[in-house]
């Protein structure tokens, strides 16, 4: 853990990961980028609107024998709704994303580009059709969802800056055995994330938010 002070408001800020370049100040919501030891405020970013997600920064869990902690979050919005992407820092230093939409969780890790038609189409700005097939990491996927996502807020540590109005095309894919994937355009670069649907119980999530009147699930108690 690396401690510093927000160059904008002076509040103490912590970096759990040594690799991530962006930290959103918990107090003034400035986006602070780090290059070496230099911290630069990139201006304020939107605060994540209040929601009833059981996840929060600091939630711990595990996947594939590695424990993780949630250290960042981006809230995305599209014309007909929104979703959260939580950044998980694993005990081996790797990162992954937990996509949270419609009360479901996708645990995804970035994978190398495969050159599929969906990726090419996304790069060329072509329209991606629902039902298009794509093979990623040897798994056969089908596109289930295509949308333009706009950042609606962010917090914690992140691998990229999320200035107001930041938007990108996003494609969701599903496979027959619970595998899922997401392909996004990020700054002219196509990024592939692959993984699977999980439940909070699967991740042995703990440190979840408590809600009045709702029993904490047994696995998290």
């Amino acid at each position: 853990m690396f401690m510093a002070n927000c160059p904008n408001c002076g509040a103490a800020i912590s970096f759990r990961s040594v690799d991530l370049p962006v930290r959103v100040c918990d107090y003034c919501h400035s986006s602070i980028t780090r290059t070496g030891d230099a911290l630069v405020s990139m201006g304020k970013v939107a605060e994540v609107p209040e929601d009833v997600s059981p996840l929060q920064i600091g939630v711990r869990g595990s996947d594939g024998g590695h424990s993780f902690e949630l250290i960042g979050r981006v809230r995305w919005r599209w014309t007909d709704g929104g979703w959260n992407e939580w950044l998980a820092l694993f005990d081996n230093g790797a990162t992954g994303w937990i996509g949270e939409a419609m009360g479901r969780y996708m645990l995804l890790r970035e994978v190398p580009a495969t050159g599929s038609a969906v990726e090419r189409g996304l790069r060329n700005g072509a329209q991606i059709i629902v039902g298009t097939e794509a093979t990623i990491d040897g798994v056969q996927y089908r596109v289930t969802d295509v949308k333009e996502a706009t950042c609606a807020g962010s917090e914690g540590e992140l691998p990229f800056n999320t200035p107001p109005g930041f938007s990108m095309p996003s494609v969701d894919l599903m496979a027959a055995d619970g595998h899922c994937a997401s392909i996004q355009m990020d700054g002219g670069e196509v990024k592939l994330y692959a993984g699977r649907y999980v439940t909070l119980a699967d991740m042995k999530a703990n440190g979840l938010r408590a809600f009045e009147g709702w029993p904490m699930p047994r696995f998290a108690a």
Binding site: E50, V52, S53, N84, K147, A176, G178, G207, L208, F211
Partner: protein, 441 residues
């Protein structure tokens, strides 16, 4: 751990000012005001009205905000939809739990179903689809259009009356898997049929009773299990009955006599003395055999007389054979080997007294010289041989058949109910093929 926060956020309807409870903030995209029916955009801090009320407000059977524990999971009712395929309508409750996400409670007016979105695409296996490596599901109906007719509460998408999707259903007993499609999304969901009363108990509504309404295509026949059971038991009973019948049908020859009787001659009496029926009461079969009859008949009057009590069991037999030809060609009829049964004769020693009288049959009485018509007796009649056998045992086929019918009543009833149910069940699916059949009818 942070202190518990409220999962419910109070809002005021932009249109009518009524108080609303937002129960799934962050997930909910649109909300239909339960007071005035306008649709609000909950992703907009201003809570913009995105649609005016289009239908008269209706109250869901299970009110919004109702909590219930269904199959071990606590749920809150956050949204209510009524949808229709143009012919039939049904209700859908959107259930929410912050740790579990969303579930569905679907009410077809008769049964409740409990469902979730699928996390994995089904595998296609020929005409069937397979989920979770389980038993395959057969295509039942669709794609057919489904339209939202009424909506109230909050939803994780932009809900709207008139919203249309194309639905394809696959079924196996107890489970329906549906594919819903529009231009930008294709979702798969799985619905499990709940037991009678399960949903009603969970959400505190009046329990329903099994009735004769139209079952859903995935509803397993309540008679299916009983059908198997009743046929197995029925088959065991029938086989047992037939084995007993076969074992007890072995016959034992008690006596036999060859006799002759003169055609149109004087009646003859033949007596078989000392027939022993030992042990227990049994069936006695008296059979006559007279193969040389030709347009003749023999009346056989039997009396089986108990030598000790002089009690008599009387029976009658008729051996006959007729033939001839007419406009339809040649014909013949009659039984030359009549069998007569006495059902239950007590043990003892018996004499069988047989009175035989043989007659010629003539089509025209005027050509007959001797015969019953004239009352005259031929003093030198043609002799016809007759063999009379007395056998013990044998089952009465009638009794066996009656027994089988009795055994089959229950399995037959169950089969009938099962088939009637299946017909109603199949009648409720809207397969295009079925429609064609209906038109052909």
């Amino acid at each position: 751990m942070t202190a518990a926060t409220s999962s419910v956020k109070a809002l005021n309807c932009t249109s009518c000012g009524g108080t609303l409870s937002l129960r799934a903030a962050g997930y909910t995209v649109s909300m239909v005001c339960e007071h005035c029916g306008v649709t609000l955009d909950t992703t907009d801090p201003q809570l913009r009205v995105i649609a005016q009320a289009t239908a008269a407000l209706r109250r869901p059977l299970i009110p919004l905000g109702t909590r219930g524990v269904l199959r071990g999971e606590t749920w809150e009712v956050v949204g209510y939809l009524e949808r229709s395929d143009g012919e039939d309508g049904w209700s859908e409750y959107l259930l929410f739990n912050p740790y579990r996400g969303y579930g569905w409670l679907v009410d077809d007016g008769r049964r409740f179903n409990y469902g979730f979105l699928l996390d994995s695409l089904p595998d296609m296996d020929g005409a069937q689809i397979v989920i979770d490596q389980g038993r395959g599901l057969d295509h039942d109906s669709g794609p057919y259009p489904v339209e939202v007719k009424f909506v109230v509460g909050e939803f994780y998408w932009r809900v709207a009356v008139g919203e249309r999707v194309q639905v394809t259903d696959y079924v196996r007993p107890g489970t329906t898997v549906s594919c819903e499609e529009n231009d930008s999304e294709r979702t798969w969901s799985k619905l499990d049929l709940l037991e009678w009363g399960e949903a009603e108990r969970a959400f505190g509504v009046e329990p329903r009773r099994p009735n004769s309404g139209t079952p859903s295509p995935a509803e397993p026949s309540p008679w299916r299990d009983r059908l198997m059971e009743s046929w197995i038991i029925g088959a065991i009973a029938a086989v047992t009955l037939l084995i007993i019948a076969a074992m007890s049908s072995g016959t034992q020859r008690l006596a036999s006599v060859d006799a002759q009787v003169g055609l149109e001659g004087a009646p003859r009496t033949v007596v078989i003395h000392g027939i022993q029926i030992a042990g227990h009461s049994s069936a006695i079969r008296i059979s006559a055999q007279s193969d040389q009859l030709d347009n003749d008949w023999i009346d056989l009057d039997y009396s089986l007389v108990d030598k000790r009590t002089q009690e008599s069991f009387d029976a009658y037999g008729l051996a006959e054979h007729y033939s001839g030809s007419d406009s339809d060609g040649s014909w013949s009829e009659g039984d030359t080997r009549p069998k007569t049964r006495l059902s239950s004769v007590p043990p003892g020693t018996y004499d069988l007294v047989v009175e035989l009288s043989a007659h010629r049959w003539v089509q025209n009485a005027s050509t007959s010289f001797f015969g019953a018509q004239t009352g005259m007796v031929d003093p030198n009649p043609t002799l016809v041989p007759v063999t009379i056998n007395v056998d013990r045992g044998g089952m009465f086929a009638g009794n066996v058949i009656l027994g089988l019918i009795l055994i089959l009543i229950w399995p037959g009833f169950v089969l009938w109910r099962h088939l009637a149910f299946e017909q109603r069940r199949r009648g409720s699916s809207d397969d295009d093929d079925d429609d064609d059949d209906d038109w052909d009818d």
